[in-house]
């Protein structure tokens, strides 16, 4: 360093020490912020717990609540933490009117809730991102049409819209198929009612990125639009979308629960958390509180944890707050 700094010296000054990728990740602001917030750590743990429970339900659950053959009708209304006098089965969270183990039902039910939630968010995200990209990148009449549809859709509560879409799709199908395709119909209904926020976010971000000079630089060399969209713009607009997606997951889970609670979602033979709550509410005042209570708590924990995680992600990834 005795010589006046040359270009390379300058680079040395600029260079931060280069740790490995994993160390870099552990040292990143995101991890640091995570470690500092007990609430977020709790939310992460609870989310992981619920995910694991749902994923490994067949290995954890004492019975398969979807299999009528495994249900012991004689054990109906067993209270929580009780071993049945008749069959000797232990019911951690009690059993319902069919003798279905509530704990198993929650594990399997959150499986369906999460599946519907993820699929609906993915569907909404893909649709919204695609439409938002087109609207933001091409502008003009495409933009006008897409965004006016979005505006109109926003004037309806999304749960109402999901109900409507659900009803319309079911109306076109023979009654015998209803139970089998219920889950797909649910996903489409929730997804269709929820794409607008992704489209809006992507459109805004696309218009910002489109005018940035790195996109113009790609245009100057004549990179085709489709490549500009997928190589440059899409990766740069995904960050806000994924954050909305995380929060959207909680909302989709609640939407699914709402629909199932209203009786238009999952049938009682394949209960999701919402269905369990609907079924359970019949027994709320007759003393069998656990049939409603535990699925309700499970839904609360799941939705709350995912939502907290989403909020935290949004804050930590928001460049304006850093």
């Amino acid at each position: 360093m005795s010589q006046p700094a040359t270009q390379h010296n300058k680079d040395d000054v600029m260079a931060s020490p280069k740790p490995s990728k994993w160390q870099g990740f552990l040292d990143s602001d995101i991890v640091h912020s995570w470690k500092q917030q007990p609430v977020v750590i709790m939310a992460t743990l609870m989310t992981l717990l619920m995910f694991m429970g749902a994923l490994f339900a067949p290995w954890i659950a004492p019975q398969n609540p979807f299999d009528p053959g495994q249900l012991e009708l004689i054990d109906a209304f067993t209270p929580p933490l009780t071993t049945s006098d008749f069959t000797g089965n232990f019911y951690l969270l009690g059993s319902d009117s069919q003798g279905r183990d509530v704990f198993s039902a929650i594990l399997y039910g959150s499986r369906i809730s999460l599946l519907v939630g993820f699929a609906a968010v993915f569907f909404a995200l893909a649709l919204g991102t695609a439409l938002g990209l087109v609207a933001g990148f091409r502008g003009g009449w495409r933009d006008a049409i897409i965004m006016r549809i979005a505006d109109v859709q926003l004037t309806f509560p999304s749960i109402l819209l999901a109900l409507l879409i659900f009803g319309v799709i079911r109306g076109f199908m023979p009654g015998s198929m209803h139970a089998e395709v219920a889950i797909i119909v649910l996903i489409i209904a929730i997804g269709l009612s929820d794409w607008v926020q992704y489209a809006r976010a992507v459109r805004g971000a696309t218009m910002v990125e489109k005018s940035k000079e790195y996109v113009q630089a790609a245009r100057v060399i004549g990179l085709p639009d489709i490549k500009i969209l997928f190589q440059h713009i899409l990766p740069n607009v995904m960050r806000p979308v994924l954050v909305i997606g995380t929060i959207g997951l909680a909302l989709a889970i609640i939407a699914e629960a709402t629909l199932s609670f209203l009786g238009v979602g999952m049938p009682a033979t394949q209960p999701s958390l919402g269905t369990l709550i609907r079924v359970g509410q019949d027994y709320m005042f007759s003393g069998e509180w656990w049939i409603l209570f535990f699925p309700g708590v499970a839904l609360l924990i799941l939705a709350l944890s995912v939502n907290l995680l989403g909020d935290w992600l949004r804050d930590v990834l928001n460049p304006k707050l850093r």
Binding site: S2, P4, A5, Q7, N9, K10, V13, M14
Partner: protein, 353 residues
């Protein structure tokens, strides 16, 4: 009107006054940003005074800490930044240790502020007149009618044509230059002792820049307000300021009367900076270039912060940090000016390749 003459005097007289008469007096100011990797020293040992009616230009490149100096004075440092040492006095009264609550009345009332983007200083939802009247009444005991009359006077003073008709206009109805005039009017509304202008003309075109600077100079001279003019533009400093303080890597490295610093810079950094500015004079094939870049706050070299880029750097410069040393006209933080044992100056090459 004696203040007008005051500002026209040689600025040296102003700078050599007693501290107590200085409008703004900053002593050994140190600002730190603690983070989880350690503590960044954003400003280190900054001292200067501004006399009434004087315009002190604070100049430096991005990251030198010039804006932060202004923000530290008005306690608008972004957390976790805070003043770690030193003191700031406004007309002799210490203000760096005031709580936010006690500081709020100072902003606008005793310290006027002008920022780069006039749009951010003006509320788009209120008319210019309303904003002026509100500011005036917040700080001065005037009724609505008198405040409005004063607002009109202010707009006239800052050169808004037909101010009666513009009083009810909204910020977006003004052009950039006119908006900045309104911001100056707002800053002057409560007749502050000190005005901090942070890049007031950077967002404006050259032709408008000249108008705004002339205005700033005129109104401050008339009112005897001290001005701290923060800018990256030496041209702005050259025609507006009385004295100039040059900053580098969070430190004050040279301070002195503006013509002297510009004509005969004493610190090698200032010297290089001046030589690297293309001028309208004779055309040079190459500009002088200072190699490298300003260090990041996390990696400020030991000794003199400029030593890795300095053509005269000696061992001493790498070990010992120079404080501001007296030069022929001002002060420079450089061992070249050590009265006892100055570091030898090496000849500067005109161009480097």
């Amino acid at each position: 009107m004696s203040l007008t003459q005051n500002s026209a005097e040689r600025p040296d007289t102003a700078s050599q006054r007693e501290d107590t008469t200085a409008v703004l007096s900053v002593r050994n100011l140190r600002v730190e940003f603690p983070n989880r990797h350690g503590t960044l020293v954003a400003l280190d040992d900054i001292s200067f005074d501004i006399a009434p009616g004087e315009i002190l230009g604070v100049v430096g490149e991005s990251g030198a800490g010039k804006s932060m100096t202004g923000n530290a004075v008005i306690q608008l440092l972004e957390p976790p930044g805070h003043i770690a040492a030193g003191e700031v006095r406004l007309s002799g009264e210490r203000i760096d240790n005031l709580s936010e609550e006690d500081f709020v009345p100072l902003r606008g009332r005793r310290i006027g502020m002008i920022f780069q983007d006039p749009l951010t200083s003006l509320n788009p939802l209120f008319s210019i007149g309303d904003q002026l009247v509100e500011t005036i009444r917040a700080h001065l005991p005037l009724n609505e009618k008198k405040a409005r009359a004063k607002a009109l006077d202010l707009l006239r003073e800052v050169g808004i044509p037909a101010p009666e008709t513009r009083l009810d206009s909204y910020p977006h109805q003004f052009s950039g230059g006119m908006r900045q005039r309104v911001v100056i009017a707002l800053a002057l509304a409560a007749e502050p002792e000190l005005i901090i202008a942070d890049e007031p003309t950077t967002a404006l075109d050259v032709s408008v820049q000249a108008q705004i600077l002339a205005l700033l100079k005129k109104v401050c001279a008339e009112r005897g307000a001290a001005v701290m003019l923060v800018t990256h533009d030496m041209g702005v400093i050259a025609e507006t300021a009385n004295r100039v303080a040059v900053m580098y890597a969070g430190r004050l490295i040279e301070i002195g009367p503006v013509d002297d610093v510009i004509q005969r810079p004493q610190h090698p950094y200032t010297e290089g900076l001046m030589a690297s500015i293309p001028g309208l004079g004779a055309r040079r094939e190459r500009l002088y270039q200072i190699e490298g870049a300003m260090p990041r706050l996390a990696a400020i070299p030991s000794g003199c912060a400029f030593n890795p880029r300095c053509p005269h750097a000696a061992d001493r410069c790498r070990q010992e940090r120079p404080s501001l040393l007296a030069t022929s006209q001002g002060q420079a933080a450089c061992w070249l000016h050590d009265p006892v044992n100055p570091v030898a100056r090496r000849p500067l090459q005109e161009t480097s390749s």
